[in-house]
Structure formats: structure tokens, C-alpha cells
């Protein structure tokens, strides 16, 4: 069985995905609002899994909400909070509820989050989780036992094209490909020339690559990301562009920049699509897509 997302990846169209951040608490109105805004504008929506190790409403819960509201979910699954039993169990559950796209992640470290004394699990890593999915699909669990009813997923992973150093990162990318990753969503990229070089390398592999586009909201945010977020580098000309925007207009400049980058990636078919992350400003994603001419 193929998912709508997988069909789009294989159709050759320029695939747009976006992201939903579940709430901290039980007020799910804003999440529902974001889903309703995005469900017809993008092919599929990731739901983050305690992003940045901050405890929230669960990823699977967000995915079910997307299903109920007629959208296509991508379940983000990290290895930080569950051991191999819990990860497999959740995959079985997800499958029975029609959540069949999974993004396999190692997960952020515990100390960067808001439960700094918690035990980080990391029983599996992202490569092993991808292989776990393929193993479950073969009808057996990680213990080698038969499953009564198997699963089928469209499984993906992430890659950081601008990691420093990049060589170990690319080696892991190849291990993820070997482990059965069908698609990759990248860490945020801003330097299209550098990204094109990465794509020249990545094109050697039978996987679909969606470039990560994170909305820049101000020059300060751009500088902060460059200085603090591993693998993200915002070129100075973009920082200057944001800084030159009239007061209160930086966000519109950010939308314009994101739109411009997406349009360029699409026009030259540099990659297979984009994964647009507006980090809490999901209502702006349609504006970004309009700016991209999509």
C-alpha cells in the first residue's frame, strides 16, 4: 500500500511538506487551526516529537488529528524517549490508524530541553530505527518473533548538508540510505550554491531529497541560528537583507527570502521538494508558498 506522500514523491512533482508543533498542554485548538490551514496547501505535514527535548503533546496524537481532518501526516519518531519495545509498539499502532509515513530521528539530547534530569534512552539510533521498520515490514519484530499482521511504511530520515565536519555526516547519510530511507528532509539550508553541490552528491542515491526551509523572522534570529544551531549557516547577504527591512517588516522579508529560495530550487529542479518549517508561525506557510509562486 502506498501513501499519498509516497505517491507524490514518486510522481516527479515538486513536493511540499510542512510541520506541525503539538502544544504543551491539552489546548489543541491552535494545532487544529494550523492543520486546517496547511492540509490542502502541502502534500504532508510532519508532527514533531518533543522537539528540542521539550515535553509536549505526542507526535502520534498530532498525526491522528491530521488524519481526522483530512491531511497526510508524517510521524516524527525520535529514539530519545523510548526503547526498542516502545518504538516498535508505536509503529504497530501508527500503522493500524493509517499513519504510514515515518521520519526516523535520533532525537535531540535531553539536556537541551526542559526536563534536564530525565534519562535519555537512545536504545536505538536513527539508522537502527530505519532498519527496525524494514524488519517489521518483513513480518518479524526485532526479537525475531513473528508478527500477527505486519506493517508498511514510507520511511525517511534527515541529513545536515552543512554539518561541520560534513564527511562523517555524509557517511551516516549513506548508512541511512542502505537502511531503507526513501526520503530525506534536510536541516535548514540558506546557501543554494552549497546545497546544489550537496545535491550533486546526493543524486547518486535512490532517495528523494526535500530541502529544509526555515522561515527567518529577523536579522537577530538569523545570526542566532548561525552562531548556535549546529549545521545552520545564514549567509551575511541574507542577514543584511533582513536588517535593512523597515521596522516591523523583517518577517515579510523572511517570507520573501524563503519564497525566493523555494522558487529557485523548484525552477532548476535542484531537489525533489522542500520541507517548510515556520516554527510556531505555521499560519505564514501559505504566504511563503505564494511568494514561491506555488
Amino acid at each position: 500500500m502506498s501513501t499519498r506522500f509516497k505517491e507524490a514523491l514518486n510522481s516527479g512533482e515538486f513536493v511540499i511538506t510542512s510541520e506541525i508543533g503539538p502544544p504543551k498542554g491539552t489546548n489543541i485548538d491552535k494545532m487544529h487551526h494550523h492543520i486546517d490551514i496547511l492540509k490542502d496547501k502541502v502534500v504532508a505535514m510532519n508532527v514533531t516529537d518533543h522537539q528540542s527535548s521539550v515535553m509536549r503533546f505526542p507526535s502520534i496524537g498530532g498525526c491522528l488529528a491530521i488524519k481526522e481532518r483530512g491531511g497526510e501526516p508524517i510521524l516524527q519518531m525520535t529514539c530519545r524517549d523510548r526503547n526498542r519495545l516502545a518504538l516498535q509498539a508505536e509503529l504497530l499502532f501508527a500503522y493500524t490508524r493509517g499513519v504510514m509515513n515515518v521520519l526516523c530521528l535520533t532525537g535531540d539530547a535531553v539536556p537541551v530541553g526542559d526536563h534536564k534530569e530525565a534519562k535519555g534512552v537512545f536504545d536505538l539510533d536513527s539508522v537502527q530505527l530505519l532498519r527496525t521498520i524494514r524488519q517489521l515490514e518483513s513480518g518479524k519484530d526485532l526479537g525475531g518473533n513473528d508478527l500477527d499482521g505486519a506493517v508498511e511504511f514510507c520511511a525517511g530520515a534527515i541529513v545536515t548538508p552543512e554539518a561541520n565536519p560534513v564527511e562523517p555526516q555524509l557517511l551516516k547519510f549513506e548508512k541511512k540510505v542502505d537502511a531503507g530511507a526513501e526520503f530525506f528532509q534536510t536541516q535548514a539550508i540558506y546557501d543554494l550554491d552549497k546545497f546544489a553541490k550537496f545535491m550533486k552528491y546526493a543524486r547518486k542515491f535512490p532517495v528523494k531529497i526535500l530541502a529544509g526551509i526555515v522561515l527567518l523572522t529577523s536579522a537577530r534570529m538569523a545570526k542566532y541560528m548561525t552562531e548556535n544551531v549546529p549545521g545552520i549557516f545564514v549567509p551575511q547577504n541574507l542577514v543584511d537583507e533582513l536588517a535593512a527591512a523597515p521596522k516591523g517588516e523583517a518577517i515579510n522579508k523572511g517570507i520573501e527570502i524563503a519564497g525566493r529560495m523555494i522558487a529557485a530550487l523548484n525552477k532548476d529542479s535542484i531537489c525533489d521538494g522542500v520541507h517548510v518549517m515556520a516554527i510556531g508561525r505555521e499560519e505564514l506557510v501559505p504566504d511563503i508558498l505564494t511568494a514561491a509562486g506555488l
Binding site: V112, L124, P230
Partner: protein
């Protein structure tokens, strides 16, 4: 190789000694002396602080190696002062605390927290290099243990948190996989890093772990 310790806060020591007014203090002449957490100076310092607090220190000793079999003898030599105390405050790693608990019928209180088994690379600089997992992978990782040196204990390469070769969790620490990659590359053995490492057997020797030498 040393058992690395740090002294508990005095508040925590005080809390543990609540209702125990007569204290005998034991230090250790090996690791805890070297790490300056439970040698003669620290034991005497603790004695002063406890006395300022109004405790009676019935005696003290620094056992050459608190975790070995001579500990019983050292305790026997101090049996008078120990018998007039109502607890033993131990300034050694947890191995010493455990050993002393085997011979003493009164409360044994740790004054230190045991952190890790450390390797000294330069004087006073200790690193945890082995997590004692029971399934050594160093042959595939150029002598650097990813289970120990990588914050997440990843077996198949770095996460996305590598920041200029350092770890995003603590930028003063190297990214283990950057180091492993560098060494394997220099050895012309990067194929080892390309090889898939399956999920680790975390029950290689189920806890509590024991062994009997034949």
C-alpha cells in the same frame, strides 16, 4: 585508572548525619587521595567542619585502599573509636563505602559521589573512556568508545549536533564521531565506520554483574 569522586555538598552530608552525633571518619589513600576528595587533608577538613557543627568525631583513619581486603584489618585497628561512634562517614568512592559496610554493623554514610572510572591524560585531568558495557567495540572505532564518548552513545555515526567538531550538548567536549572518523581515515579504515552496527545487546551481562575467576 581511578575511581573519580566529588564531595557531596555539606548540606547533604549534614542531612545524612541527622540524628547521628558521634562520627568516625574514613578516608582512602588511593583514588580519593589523588582526586583530593578523601585523603588525609580532606578527612581532617571534614573533622573540623563536623566539630563546628557540634558533632563528636570519635576518630578518623585513612585506609590505604578502602576497596581491598586490608580494609577489615584497618577497621579492626580502630575498633575502639568506631564502637564509640554511631556512624561511619566514608570519604572514598562507592566501592570503599560498600566494602566498609560489609564489616560494620552501624550506619555507613557516603560523603562523596562516585562519578566514573577515569583515565588520566595529563596530571589532574581525567576522562571517562569506558562505560564497561561488556561488549567492546573499540576495534571498530579506532580506540574511541562511542558509547562513552558520544553523549547519546550512538553506534552508527554522529547526530546532527556536531558543531565544528564539538558536541552541541557541551561545546568544550569533542564530538566522539568526529574523532573516530578522523582516526579511521588516517588509518585508511573508514570502511569500519560504513559498516552497520546493529542494536546493542544491553543485557550482555545482566545486572547485577558478577564474575568468578577460576
Amino acid at each position: 585508572m581511578k575511581s573519580i569522586t566529588k564531595q557531596k555538598t555539606f548540606d547533604e552530608i549534614k542531612e545524612q548525619l541527622d540524628g547521628l552525633d558521634k562520627v568516625f571518619i574514613v578516608g582512602c589513600g588511593t583514588c580519593a587521595t589523588m582526586t583530593k576528595t578523601g585523603g588525609r587533608d580532606e578527612v581532617l577538613g571534614m573533622k573540623d567542619r563536623l566539630q563546628e557543627l557540634g558533632k563528636i568525631v570519635t576518630g578518623w583513619t585513612v585506609i590505604p585502599t578502602a576497596c581491598d581486603e586490608m580494609t577489615e584489618v584497618a577497621l579492626r585497628e580502630n575498633s575502639g573509636a568506631i564502637s564509640s561512634s554511631n556512624c561511619i562517614l566514608v570519604m572514598s568512592c562507592a566501592l570503599g563505602v560498600h566494602k566498609i559496610s560489609c564489616y560494620i554493623d552501624r550506619p555507613v554514610i557516603p560523603a562523596l559521589d562516585t562519578l566514573f572510572i577515569g583515565l588520566e591524560d595529563e596530571p589532574g585531568n581525567f576522562h571517562e573512556v569506558c562505560a564497561q558495557c561488556g561488549q567492546c567495540v573499540l576495534g571498530q572505532t579506532a580506540g574511541i568508545c562511542p558509547l562513552t564518548a558520544c553523549h547519546k552513545g550512538l553506534l552508527n555515526g554522529p547526530c546532527g549536533g556536531t558543531n565544528k567538531g564539538m558536541c552541541e550538548v557541551d561545546i568544550t567536549k569533542d564530538c566522539a564521531w568526529t574523532l573516530i572518523h578522523r582516526r579511521l581515515e588516517a588509518q585508511g579504515r573508514l570502511d569500519l565506520m560504513r559498516k552497520y552496527q546493529p542494536p546493542k545487546n544491553y543485557q550482555a551481562t545482566p545486572r547485577p554483574r558478577t564474575t568468578k575467576i577460576a
